[in-house]
Structure formats: structure tokens, C-alpha cells
Symmetry: C2
């Protein structure tokens, strides 16, 4: 067969990954890369891994898997108010990997990296001895001291969330129970939207500058809005949440089966940005988000107290989701 | 049971990993850390993963596994002439992990990180769905533009290697065939040395400054001296290698079974530094290595040509090891 020896890590790298290499990566011909923040900036570093059969389905398209592996990391970079600078890839392959899979994976990875302006800087390829695992370390930068932290919300701050919540969790359910009664209430375009939201996180990079300028605290919603909000507020602070933005598809599903509010609010994989902002700064944040073309909605207020956040159910009652975040662990 | 819920990633992090957190990590209470090189410096970034049953034995002591996972990355940092600054950990655990394992792992990790001045900055904990995988991204820094690359050796440069070669490969063999005839020729201390070299890489951080000041090219020896040297020289350059430094234990093993020269030179896991240096700079490099307390030996010369490096066998003949590097992949 033409091309690299299937068993040669060097050959695989040269063929599939060297074309994705950025400045400082030395064409992936070395064991390390250099990365230097713009003067007056800090690097922001984060690492998240996705595992076949746990964070995605083994038979998902390989380009989608690559997009997810990079996207979940870029989502953290955006939530910290940072601009992407590059990433490292740790690719642990199962024994039955194929060149076709790797070709699709590297193609999707390259496309996602190019869209985000976030080149590949290096990494490692190993046998997993089990399912595939894709680990990414992503780098971004912020003006010195400008990182937006998770735990710095103040009582009285307004709480905002980007986009719509629960689509990915419903997309996952749809995958597992395509014939559920609620699913059959959705038209094909609505089903496709939910499925796509599960498969393809869309990191809110365009929102990073507004977050950095205006937010008092921020994180991305990866493990469910209810649990991530509780994590963000920690001890001594809680929240009352009003209307959470839902897609038409999610709203229709919930109308058909009211119990779906639970996976919507706790199901994870949203990759939207959750942030807090001083009340007097809310309008500036919303205006800047609108200018960036990213939907952002004020959904509640930080209060003092220790219980989990209460979600208003529209009938005057509030529900808490004490089980907290969905955990991939 | 007191302590965190076994299934809570947040609880595990707070208990086992937050004590290891460095400045910029925000106590591991956020999804990202900041890292800023000293003014006038570049960051050097590298990622390597180790997998149970492939890079180490599942029943190795957990503190040894942690030392290996960090050590193989620090070895790359040292070989690039860099000073460690911190690391990210991606810990993918099998379903049968225990708190005792995690306690031992985090203890070993903390000790190795403290020795190297390389604090934990963040990471991710996931289920592996198979064997454990430990991925590390390590950060170091060099004065701007000062990284020592792998591919920049010149014809005529002298080739040097630190420490002794082949001990870890023999340590692995000893583990697999403890009753082999050659093994029984070794005394217990020699057996223990080989076993320890397999279990505990010792990254040559003390050699980094000398490498940066004097070496024309450098890499760490992780996949076997013969193959890594071929990788370093690439096309158009090759080498003639004389006496390769062996420990007394390795020399005795090879004397007992001459065929062991093959695993010694190709077996991997040495984590020594291989570098090249202009002939007129060799003495300065050797003197600085001696001052740093690290054995460094000149073993050959870079020549022009395309074959794999030839290793003199002591009888006037030279052998090549065309199979090249041992591959974990």
C-alpha cells in the first residue's frame, strides 16, 4: 500500500497531522512546540478529553468526533474570555482503527481548527487498549490578568446564558429512543437540529471579548445548566432562574412530555456560555453580544443562600435539581 | 464513608489534586488556568500519554505510574533546553479504580512535581472504558528563540548521550522473564537497578541549561537509542557510533547474552538526552554537564549519508539496527 506504514507513528503524523501544524510546531517533527503569548497577555490553558462510548458514539462520523474533541476545549477558552492560539492532541486509538477513520478525523479536526484560528502544535499518538480517547489541550490568550474566573459572581449580579439550553441532551435521547412519543411530535428539521447540537458543539468564541469586558464570572455549560450554575455559585450564593431559552424543538418536546425539563436543565453537552454581570453592566453586555451575533439572555439573579438554584416552572412554583450536574465520570 | 462521593469528579479533584495546584490554577476550581512565560521567554509545550498494559504494568505501584507519566514529559522539556513551569493532567480511569490507587497516584505525582518545580495547573478526569490512560501536557520555558530542536544537527557534529543506555529495556525484560539465564547472572542490586530504571524515568532537568547553551540539536531517548538517533538525523545524515555507555548491570547482562545488545540499543524507555554539538564546543558541553552532576558521553560523529547509524561492535565491525525505534504505537 502507498503511504506510511500503518504501524508507524511518524508516518501517520506526517500524513494526517503535519498539514494542520501551526507556527512554533516545527512541522510536528519535534517532541515539543513553542508558544509565546502576545506581549502583555497571559496564556489560558485547558484540557478536556472525550472517550468513545462515553462522550460520543463509536460510530459517530470521525470528522464530527474531531469537531467535538476540539470544540469542548474551545468552549472553555471562550468562556474565559480568551482568543484561541493553538492546541495539542493526544490520540489514543483502539486496535481496530482504520486509515479511513483517521483521514476523516484529521479532516474534521483541520476544518474546526482553521475556523477557530487555532492550529495544531503537537501531541502524542498511542494505542488505547480499549475505546478511543481523544485528549486536547487548548491554548488561548487574554490581556494580562484578564481571565474571567468561574467563582467570582457577586450577590445581585444578573445571570445570562447564550443560545438555547437542552438541545444536545434531547439530541442524545433522540439517538437512544428515536421512537419516543415526544420525538414523533417533532418535524424532521427539529429532530435534525437536536441531533446536530449533540454531535457538534459550537464554541462561542465570538462572545469571548464581551465576556472579558463585562462579565463578573463565566463558565461554559458542559454538564447541565442546573449543576454548572450550582458549581459556579458555590457556597453562600444561589439563584432564582426565570425563563431559560429553549429552541422551538426543545420547547415542543417539553410540551409533549413535561418531564423532559429535567434532561433539558441537567443533561449536559450544551457548550453555551453561562455568565454573571453587574446589573448596571447588563445592557452593555447584551448589546455587545448582539453585535457579535450571539443570542444572550438574562435568566435570573444571584442571591445569597445555600440551596441549589431554583428554576421557576411558570406556575409560580420553583424547582430545584438537587442531583446536580450530569457527570461524564 | 467520609470524604467526597466516589462518583463526584469535583470531590476527587478537591481531595487529591487541589493540594498539588500551582499559581494560575485557581485551586483547580475553574476549567482553565493562566500561564505566562517570564518576559523574554517562550513557552515550550509537549504532550505524552502512558497507557496501562502498554507503557506500564497495571499492577505497578500507583506512585510509580504517576512518576512515569510526568517524567516522560519532563524528559522532553529537559531535552529542549527548557525549565519546567507546570503541567495539565488528563486522567482516564478504568471502571475498577479505587480511592487507594488514586491516593497513591496523587502522592507520587505531587512528589515528582515538587522535585521538578512543576506544579499542576489543571486537567480532566474521565472514565476510560478500558485500561487507565494518563495524559500529561507539560510546560517549560526557554529564553526567546532558545528552544533546541531535534532536526538541526550538522555533519561533523559530535553525538553525546547522558547516563547509561538500555537499563530500562532490560528492566522490562527482567519483569517478563525473571528466570532468564542472563538475569540469574546479575546480583540483586543489579536486578533492582534495571527494574528501577524501567519503573522510574529520571528526567535530566539538570542538563537543560548546558543543552541550551551548547547543543546543536537534542531529543530525549524514549523509543530506543538506535531509532531515535535515526529520527534525529533524518535524510542525508547518518552516524558512526563507538562505545555506548552501559551500566555495570547492563554490561554484565550483555556479556552473559550478547544478543541483548539489540534491546539495549532499540528497547526504549531510557529517558536519557541525546544531543549533538559542534566539535569545538564538545569540551564546554562536557564540562558543564559534569558541573551539573550528569554523566554525559561522546559516542560518535554525524556523517553525511543515508543509511541508519552504524554501531561499532568492538571487533571492528559495525551493526545497524534497521528495524528502528521500538514503537509503543
Amino acid at each position: 500500500m502507498a503511504g506510511p506504514d500503518r504501524a508507524s507513528e511518524e508516518g501517520l503524523i506526517a500524513r494526517y497531522f503535519a498539514p494542520l501544524a501551526g507556527s512554533g510546531a516545527d512541522g510536528l517533527r519535534d517532541d515539543a512546540a513553542t508558544l509565546t503569548p502576545t506581549p502583555g497577555h497571559d496564556l489560558v490553558v485547558t484540557a478536556d478529553a472525550v472517550v468513545a462510548g462515553i462522550h460520543y458514539f463509536s460510530d459517530d462520523p470521525p470528522d464530527s468526533i474531531a469537531r467535538k474533541a476540539l470544540g469542548v476545549n474551545l468552549s472553555d477558552i471562550a468562556a474565559k474570555g480568551a482568543v484561541p492560539r493553538g492546541f495539542l492532541l493526544t490520540l489514543a486509538l483502539p486496535d481496530d482503527w482504520t486509515e479511513a477513520w483517521l483521514a476523516g478525523f484529521s479532516e474534521g479536526l483541520g476544518a474546526a481548527a482553521a475556523e477557530a484560528g487555532c492550529p495544531l502544535l503537537g501531541g502524542d499518538t498511542v494505542r488505547s487498549g480499549g475505546p478511543a480517547l481523544i485528549g486536547v489541550t487548548a491554548f488561548g490568550e487574554v490581556p494580562s490578568g484578564g481571565i474571567v474566573r468561574r467563582g467570582t459572581a457577586r450577590v445581585g449580579d444578573r445571570i445570562c446564558v447564550s443560545g438555547t439550553i437542552g438541545d444536545a441532551a434531547l439530541g442524545l435521547r433522540l439517538r437512544l429512543e428515536p421512537e419516543a412519543a415526544w420525538a414523533t411530535c417533532l418535524d424532521p428539521a427539529q429532530q435534525a437540529l437536536l441531533a446536530d447540537r449533540y454531535l457538534h458543539p459550537r464554541p462561542r468564541l465570538a462572545l469571548a471579548a464581551a465576556i472579558r469586558r463585562h462579565a463578573s464570572a463565566a463558565m461554559d455549560v458542559s454538564d447541565g445548566l442546573a449543576g454548572d450554575l450550582a458549581k459556579m455559585l458555590g457556597a453562600g450564593r444561589t439563584a432564582r432562574i426565570g425563563v431559560v431559552p429553549l429552541s422551538e424543538a426543545a420547547a415542543r418536546a417539553r410540551d409533549a412530555e413535561p418531564g423532559l425539563i429535567e434532561p433539558i436543565l441537567t443533561g449536559g453537552d450544551d457548550y453555551e456560555i453561562l455568565c454573571t454581570v453587574a446589573p448596571e453592566t447588563l445592557d452593555a453586555l447584551l448589546a455587545e453580544a448582539a453585535q457579535a451575533g450571539i443570542p444572550l439572555a438574562a435568566i435570573g439573579t444571584v442571591t445569597s443562600g445555600d440551596g441549589p438554584p431554583g428554576f421557576e416552572m411558570g406556575d409560580g412554583t420553583a424547582r430545584v435539581f438537587a442531583a446536580g450536574a450530569f457527570s461524564h465520570f
